[in-house]
């Protein structure tokens, strides 16, 4: 026994050194493992154990120093404080372990202990005072740590079993307990129990080994055990870290894929405005070669001029917490403008100490780390929008340029839109009409009835067309043509109707005019045909007349001879010759009429008094009037203006007309001849030829009427035709009125022949209109 002592006693300094090293190593081992990340509860208390290890290690070093250098008072005093602190750490470690494992020992206990220790340290021999920390802290501390270790094992049994740490923990528990007993009970020998009974001497006497050596061995064993436990835990933590890292990498790659894959441009910008990250779309849109080119570029360089963010500078954006769908434009590398819809999100960091500790300090109090720019390229959208605008403008222009009035009405009869022509037609403001009922804007007879156009269109009619006559303010009739067709949306759904209203008034009027002109043309054509017919007849007559007259002359001479020579007793022969004689005279009359007609080609017009001409004609035909006992009433205007006429030809005109009247009247009939002047407008000219006269032109009118039966209606159109006669059997040649018409036309005049008005009695009436262009007053 002594030999051991002899061996160990001079080397106590080495033992203390080993002791110290063991504790310091233990502290270092515990420090080296990341306790935070551990999922085990007891890991939280390891900090206190570190404190114990280092302080106790320091104490052992001091002990070693004191052995080597001899007692130094200050060092001894410091040693007491150090050991007290060390054991308080152990005590607290144990208490915390118990607390963690739900054996709550309040903070009052260490205070109580401390108070006791301080009291006892100063009330006893100061230099031997480290007995008290051992009794009050080391002993309970070690035992609590031991129990705590075992409880901790039990608390995380499954996990620790997996790590095969069961035995270590249980061993550790017992080791802590024994260490507590060893350090807490085996103290320097003193005069009072238990130090007087259980002390280093008694320990040595009992075991022949200095207690310091045993404690040293114990410390080494605990250190080894702890090292084992810590390295296992550390491995587990490393695994976990690895897993987290893999997860993080995965998450990052997901994020990266999302960022790179999205079709929108995404830029992460630092607080200073530098681009930190750009996705593929950004590179493509901005026409850069690759992402690297964009990195560290100033974000403001991507915006042309003032277009950037308008008023919304980064500060404003920061205040507002971001920017949403702001329409702006990027300037590409090639300098092209790329219209985009820009959103900016503010990148904020979580506000906790760890980030700050980790060095990711936010540069300002809002913890803003940067901005995320997300831009959607809207070039195509803009193009489509522009095209849409153009198409709309084009349609709108066409709509408004249309001369027809148009309106669009929805299913409920509300006006959606009208064009300029409609506004003009309805006399309303374009904007005021929108949203009004269709019937309030342009009412029609059909409104509200079964014939409602909208109702018809809505019930499937493909087209509704009708005409509308409206009397305007000036009592003028306006005609409108309306066409309504279905109004459908892009999908072809019926959503209303489109109405087109054309003012066809002018068209209708033009048509009427055309109709009139056509009638006139027809009349003129008839006149031309008539003239042509007459010309042909004239030509024919003059050619043929001579050739026909000679044979007629021969026949007449023959009849005359026979009349003389044939026995006058035979009545039939006389009748026959008489008939032949009549026939020859009739044929001669026709030829004569033809010749008259054909000869009237040239006028020998001089200024004449028409009344004189009429008197001459009456004189020449007077024997006829006398023969039939007819009355002649003359109503010739005095001082009638002279007219330029061919007196002979006008005589012929009057004679022909008088003869017709004589033929038409029974005995005692009355012929009335009137002459007067009047304005063309008042002349009551029926024929379309009236257009040939100026309304204000002064005309000379000769009116000849009889008291005969009048002209049958059906003949009125034909009386001027050559060879038209109702008296063929009684010497009528049918040339009389043809010649009259011809002569009047040659005089540039006009003749109308019809029946007298009913109130004037029966009979025909002829009116001749002559121009007084070169009139001279007949003084």
């Amino acid at each position: 026994m002594n030999s051991i002592y002899n061996f160990l006693n001079p080397h106590l300094d080495i033992i203390y050194a080993v002791y110290a090293v063991a504790f310091i190593m233990l502290g270092t081992v515990i420090i080296s493992i990341p306790r935070k990340e551990s999922e085990f509860k007891f890991a939280k208390s390891l900090g206190l154990l570190i404190g114990f290890c280092f302080s106790h290690g320091l104490h052992e070093l001091v002990e070693m120093f004191l052995i080597v250098k001899g007692p130094i008072f200050l060092l001894q005093a410091a040693d007491i404080i150090i050991i007290t602190v060390a054991f308080i750490y152990l005590f607290e470690f144990g208490r915390m372990l118990l607390n963690i494992n739900k054996i709550i020992i309040g903070a009052w206990m260490p205070f109580l202990m401390e108070a006791a220790v301080i009291t006892l340290v100063f009330s006893t021999n100061f230099l031997r005072a480290h007995i008290w920390p051992r009794y009050f802290f080391a002993l309970p501390g070690g035992i609590m740590s031991g129990i705590g270790s075992i409880l901790s094992y039990l608390a995380d049994k499954e996990k620790l079993d997996k790590l095969r740490l069961k035995n270590y923990f249980i061993s550790l528990g017992f080791l802590f307990c024994f260490y507590g007993l060893l350090s807490g009970l085996v103290v320097e020998k003193d005069s009072f129990p238990p130090a007087s009974i259980i002390n280093t001497e008694s320990f040595f006497n009992l075991f022949n080994v200095p207690s310091a050596v045993v404690r040293c061995i114990w410390a080494v064993i605990i250190t080894l055990l702890m090292y084992r436990i810590m390295s296992r835990l550390s491995g587990q933590i490393q695994d976990k870290k690895q897993k987290m890292l893999v997860g993080l990498k995965k998450a990052y790659s997901y994020l990266d894929a999302i960022v790179c894959g999205i079709s929108d441009s995404l830029l992460v910008v630092s607080l200073e405005g530098k681009i930190i990250k750009a996705n593929k779309t950004s590179v493509k849109i901005l026409e850069y070669e690759n992402e690297k080119e964009l990195i560290n570029k100033d974000i403001s360089g991507l915006f042309p001029g003032k277009l950037s963010l308008g008023e919304a500078g980064l500060e404003v954006i920061t205040k507002r917490g971001g920017l949403n769908n702001y329409e702006t434009a990027f300037s590409s590398k090639k300098g092209r403008l790329i219209p985009v819809l820009l959103s900016i999100a503010v990148l904020k960091l979580e506000d906790n100490k760890e980030n700050i500790e980790a060095g990711q300090k936010a540069a300002n109090k809002d913890n803003i780390a940067g901005f995320v720019y997300v831009a959607k390229e809207i070039t195509e959208l803009k193009r489509v929008e522009a095209r849409l605008k153009l198409a709309y403008s084009e349609l709108n222009q066409i709509f408004n340029a249309n001369i027809s009035a148009m309106r669009v009405v929805d299913r409920n009869g509300y006006v959606l839109r009208i064009n300029d022509a409609f506004a003009k037609l309805a006399g309303v403001g374009k904007e005021k009409v929108i949203g009004k009922k269709c019937r309030d804007v342009w009412p029609e007879e059909r409104c509200g009835s079964d014939a409602c156009v909208l109702a018809k269109i809505l019930s499937g009619a493909k087209k509704e067309a009708f005409s509308l006559e409206v009397y305007g303010e000036n009592r003028q009739k306006n005609t409108y043509h309306t066409v309504a067709v279905p109004y459908v949306d892009a999908e072809g759904n019926l959503i209303g109707m489109l109405e087109e209203i054309s003012d066809v008034t002018s068209l209708v009027r033009a048509e009427e005019k055309l109709q009139k002109a056509y009638q006139e043309l027809k009349g003129a054509q008839a006149g031309l045909i008539q003239a042509e017919k007459m010309a042909v007849v004239g030509e024919l007559a003059s050619g043929v007349a001579h050739e026909v007259k000679n044979p007629l002359a021969i026949i007449l001479q023959g009849i005359d001879y026979l009349n003389k020579k044939v026995s006058s007793q035979d009545a039939n022969i006389i009748l026959t010759l008489d008939c032949m004689n009549n026939a020859v005279h009739r044929a001669d009359g026709i030829i004569k009429g033809l010749l008259d007609f054909s000869s009237s080609t040239e006028l020998d017009a001089k200024e004449n008094n028409i009344n004189d001409t009429i008197n001459t004609a009456l004189l020449l035909t007077s024997h006829m009037f006398v023969k039939k006992r007819l009355n002649v009433i003359k109503s010739l205007q005095d001082n009638i203006p002279l007219v330029e006429i061919d007196a002979n030809k006008m005589e012929q005109v009057f004679i022909n007309l008088f003869l017709n009247s004589v033929e038409a009247m029974p005995e005692n009939g009355t012929l009335t001849v009137r002459t007067y002047t009047c304005k063309a407008a008042q002349a009551d000219i029926k024929s379309v030829v009236s257009d040939n006269f100026e309304p204000k032109e002064e005309l000379l009118v000769i009116e000849i009427s009889d008291s005969g039966e009048g002209i049958p209606e059906e003949f009125l159109n034909r009386i001027f035709d050559p060879f038209f006669t109702t008296r063929r059997g009684t010497g009528g040649t049918g040339m009389g009125l043809a010649v009259v018409l011809n002569l009047i036309k040659m005089h540039n005049g006009h003749i109308e022949i019809g029946n007298k008005h009913k109130i004037e009695g029966k009979g025909a009436k002829a009116r001749i209109f002559l121009r007084l262009k070169n009139k001279k007053e007949n003084n």
């Binding site: 007259k549 007629l552 002359a553 007449l556 001479q557 005359d560 001879y561």
Partner: protein
């Protein structure tokens, strides 16, 4: 004594018919169809009155009239134009050439005879 009348007309049938009727009315009538040798006829026949047609193929009535009226021996013989041409122009022309009467074909014998007598009595 039968009064002598010369008819110059290319319409032979007409001339013959007139001759027939005038003969019935006591006239001595000779007919000719070509007026060119009118002076010869007059020499041979010595008519007191001539009925002259206007439209004839070889020489027209106006030229015959001109010959007659330009010849001092024949200019006093009265000429009645007996023609189918009834135009004023023709009538005026004939009057200007001193014909006695202008009669249009066809004509009644009665009327013709009265015209002839009228003209002859005027002499």
């Amino acid at each position: 004594m039968r009064r002598k009348i010369l008819i110059i007309d290319d319409e032979v049938d007409f001339a013959n018919m007139v001759k027939l009727n005038l003969s019935e009315n006591g006239f001595d009538v000779r007919t000719e169809s070509d007026g060119r040798s009118v002076l010869n006829f007059i020499k041979e026949f010595s008519p007191e009155l001539i009925l002259l047609d206007v439209v004839m193929p070889k020489i027209d009535g106006f030229n015959v009239l001109k010959i007659l009226k330009n010849n001092p021996q024949t200019m006093s013989i009265p000429v009645i134009m007996l023609t189918a041409i009834g135009t004023n122009d023709a009538k005026i022309k004939a009057a200007g050439m001193y014909c006695e009467e202008y009669v249009l074909k066809p004509i009644d014998t009665e009327a013709l005879v009265s015209k002839i007598n009228e003209v002859l009595e005027r002499r």
